[in-house]
């Protein structure tokens, strides 16, 4: 027997409440103005094509306690301001406070002229030249690298191909084994003809990626989220924070066609990284070449990169100093949640400072 106890007067009250919040909230929505992202002051120190390498300014009067700079390599998917999205939710700020000298690669927005950029161009070209630039500026042979998501995979490839230039490697929510049974994204691309896709549309539009990510949880991400939003519409600060996140979610750069082709075919469809069979330029990527200390951070409720996809790294790197850090949250929460600010960035800083 179904236990249905909604009374008409209660339902009417709920509707009135919802209507009132929606009506009031529209004012806050309009007054929200421009949505700013990226809160920490920074300086562009190197530019090449659409790439910009930023160095983040330290808080006045403070000095980096770690003399080895840290380069953050973000994914090509979505924009890197997720790491610095608002004053009280900033991985960048947390790292600065933890004594790191922070650099970040901003890939920009590829257009059709970037179609033929390959993984070789990105990793052995752009990343390598950014590392060289930082090394040159600091008079060092090697620096610390922090790779995020796909940027983590790129960082692993880079560290394998240029082990002498990476002093310590931190990977965050980074896929390594691309075919764990719970990997929805992987399952979905297995029967897609990637050559046909790339040959037909060239660069992969951001809309296609948005659709894919929203399809992971369509009812929550395209439905329930907006109902929940009504509950906070009367708080201008929360409205602004919500809109900031909304902007990031839909701010998806197109993907350079040739890089997308190799990334999906070799990594997702062939799972060639764990087999040591990925070829990038003149190199074969062997994770066993990575002998520097490695800190691998993953999110326990990650629906994009399942924990097992990340922890596979442990058995593959050649390092004797391998550490894992499990964060009780999701793929985005690991950067923006209050808990992440207290736990993740201080842990990275502490780990790096010891090495």
């Amino acid at each position: 027997m179904i236990n249905f106890q909604i009374r008409p007067d209660k339902l009417a009250e709920e509707m009135a409440d919802y209507s009132r919040k929606l009506g009031h909230g529209i004012e806050n929505l309009i007054d929200a103005g421009e949505i700013d992202t990226g809160v920490t002051a920074r300086t562009a120190v190197y530019k090449e094509d659409k790439l910009v390498l930023y160095r983040y300014d330290r808080p006045k009067g403070s000095k980096a306690s770690n003399e080895t700079p840290l380069l953050i390599v973000y994914a090509l998917v979505n924009r890197p301001y997720m790491t610095d999205i608002q004053e009280d939710r900033s991985t960048i700020r947390g790292l600065l406070e933890a004594g790191q000298d922070v650099y970040l690669v901003d890939w920009g927005y590829p257009d059709s002229s970037d179609y033929a950029l390959t993984m070789d161009d990105y990793i052995n070209g752009y990343i390598d030249r950014c590392v060289d630039h930082i090394c040159e500026q600091h008079g060092l042979d090697s620096i610390n690298v922090l790779g995020i998501c796909q940027g983590g995979t790129f960082s692993l490839c880079y560290s394998s191909m240029h082990p002498d230039k990476v002093r310590n490697l931190v990977t965050m929510v980074t896929p390594v084994d691309f075919q764990t049974p719970d990997n929805l994204l992987s399952s979905w691309v297995q029967h897609i003809d990637i050559d046909l896709l790339v040959d037909t549309i060239g660069n992969i539009p951001g809309e296609l990626l948005n659709w894919t990510f929203l399809s992971l949880k369509p009812f929550s991400l395209t439905g329930q989220k907006y109902i929940n939003m009504v509950d906070v519409l009367d708080d201008p600060k929360k409205v602004k924070n919500f809109l900031r996140m909304e902007k990031w979610i839909f701010d998806s750069p197109d993907q350079a066609g040739e890089t997308f082709r190799q990334f999906i075919k070799d990594f997702y469809q062939q799972n060639a990284l764990i087999a040591g069979e990925v070829e990038i330029g003149e190199h074969v990527v062997d994770l066993g070449n990575i002998t520097c200390p490695v800190l691998n951070i993953y999110a326990q409720q990650d629906h994009l990169v399942p924990p097992d996809a990340s922890t596979a790294l442990g058995g593959l790197v050649g390092s004797d100093d391998y550490t894992e850090l499990a964060f009780p949250g999701g793929h985005i929460g690991i950067y923006v949640s209050g808990r992440a600010q207290k736990e993740v960035t201080p842990a990275i800083g502490e780990w790096l400072n010891k090495r």
Binding site: M1, N3, F4, I6, P8, K10, L11, A12, E14, M15, A16, Y18, S19, L22, I26, I30, T68, S113, Y115, A116, D121, G125, R129, G139, D141, S142, S160, M161, P163, D164, K165, R167, D182, L184, S187, W188, H191, I192, L196, L197, T200, G202, P205, E207, N210, W211, L214, S215, K217, P218, F219, S220, Q224, Y226, I227, M229, L243, E246, E282, N289
Partner: protein, 346 residues
């Protein structure tokens, strides 16, 4: 625009009308008259159409999403209440409503009272259509109404007929385009069917879940419904079957676009306008050259560095303390840095 313009007047007035409709509904329990099908939704639509013109374009899409979900939010509760109207046993009426909903996933007549609740399960499809529209010269739903089944088989035979005469190539291109369009339509139909069967299962799961816990608010009902949908969706879309459906849909759309592009290229060529294929060749050649240039620049820099190093080593050792320049050149880790040396190791 005044602050009151958005809600105090128009909308609250329509909301008042809505409460009156609810009163009517209660009266209907006494057999007085029939209320409109979805009064709350109607009032919301009315309000939204009045205010959306004054809203900045950038915010309209966001607010539309909230409006759409607001409608979904109350839809089930509203329908349940209507189903229960006049019934002595509300729970039995509710069970009847859920049965009706299940039935809706099998057939959707135009006057189906549960049409909108079942449309909730079209959200993944709707997302696909938006994306496909953004990538296509045709609206995303253009191909949804195309013939299939026996008609498709018949058309397949016709379209399979070899082209003849001077325009043979063109005929073949258009035949392939039509075949690709039909394949896409069929893939889309198969994809839709998958979601409709999933929707049916979600109603059964909802029945099971609310059988255990008393439902006391529309929000609780909505959240439970979302939870059921996500739970089933997560189970089904990880399957090999779904992976194949998904692949077929994407491949079919790409095949269609590819055929369309082929015809476009042909037309552009006849007008002596560069085609996408021409551009692609140039993009690849240009990137190859840029790659070579960057490699050469890097090698020249490395050679200069080596020369400076050799020159420094050949100078007599100074008795002065190390200069700032020398200090800067000090490396913390002694490791070769040239690309050649790295390549040899990997």
């Amino acid at each position: 625009m005044t602050k009151n313009a958005f809600w105090n007047d128009d909308w609250m007035s329509t909301q008042r009308q809505y409460w009156e409709q609810w009163n009517n509904m209660q009266q209907q329990a006494l057999g007085v008259k029939q209320p409109p099908a979805n009064p709350w939704e109607q009032s919301m639509e009315h309000w939204w159409s009045a205010v959306q013109g004054a809203m900045p374009a950038a915010k309209q899409d966001f607010f539309s999403k909230m409006m759409d979900q607001g409608k979904n939010y109350f839809q089930m509760a509203e329908q349940a209440m209507q189903a229960a109207n006049g019934q002595e046993n509300v729970s039995e009426a509710w069970a009847k409503m859920l049965s009706g909903l299940t039935e809706s996933f099998h057939q959707k007549p135009a006057n189906d009272p549960f049409k909108q609740a079942t449309a909730f399960w079209e959200m993944p499809l709707d997302n696909w259509n938006r994306m496909a529209s953004a990538m296509s010269p045709l609206p995303g739903d253009t191909l949804r109404g195309m013939p299939h089944g026996d008609v498709k088989e018949h058309l397949d035979r016709i379209l399979g007929t070899p082209g003849l005469g001077y325009t043979r190539e063109t005929q073949t291109q258009y035949q392939r385009l039509m075949q690709a369009a039909m394949e896409y339509q069929e893939a889309m139909a198969e994809y839709s069917l998958f979601f409709s069967s999933m929707g049916e299962k979600s109603v059964k799961l909802l029945q099971k879940k609310i059988g255990d816990t008393p439902v006391e608010s529309a929000r609780q009902l909505y959240d439970t419904w979302i939870g059921c949908c996500e739970e089933l969706y997560a189970e089904d879309v990880i399957s090999e079957n779904y992976s194949k459906l998904h692949g077929r849909l994407v491949n079919a759309l790409m095949e269609l676009k590819s055929r369309w592009g082929e015809i476009m290229n042909e037309s552009l060529s006849t007008m002596n306008i560069p085609t996408r294929d021409d551009l692609r060749t140039l993009q690849i050649r240009m990137q190859e050259q840029r790659r070579e240039n960057k490699k050469l620049v890097s090698e020249v820099a490395a050679l200069r560095h080596e020369i400076r190093k050799m020159q420094a080593e050949s100078k007599p050792v100074s008795k002065k303390p190390a200069t700032k320049t020398v200090k800067k050149a000090t490396r913390k880790k002694a490791a070769p840095r040239t690309r050649k040396a790295t390549a040899a190791r990997t």
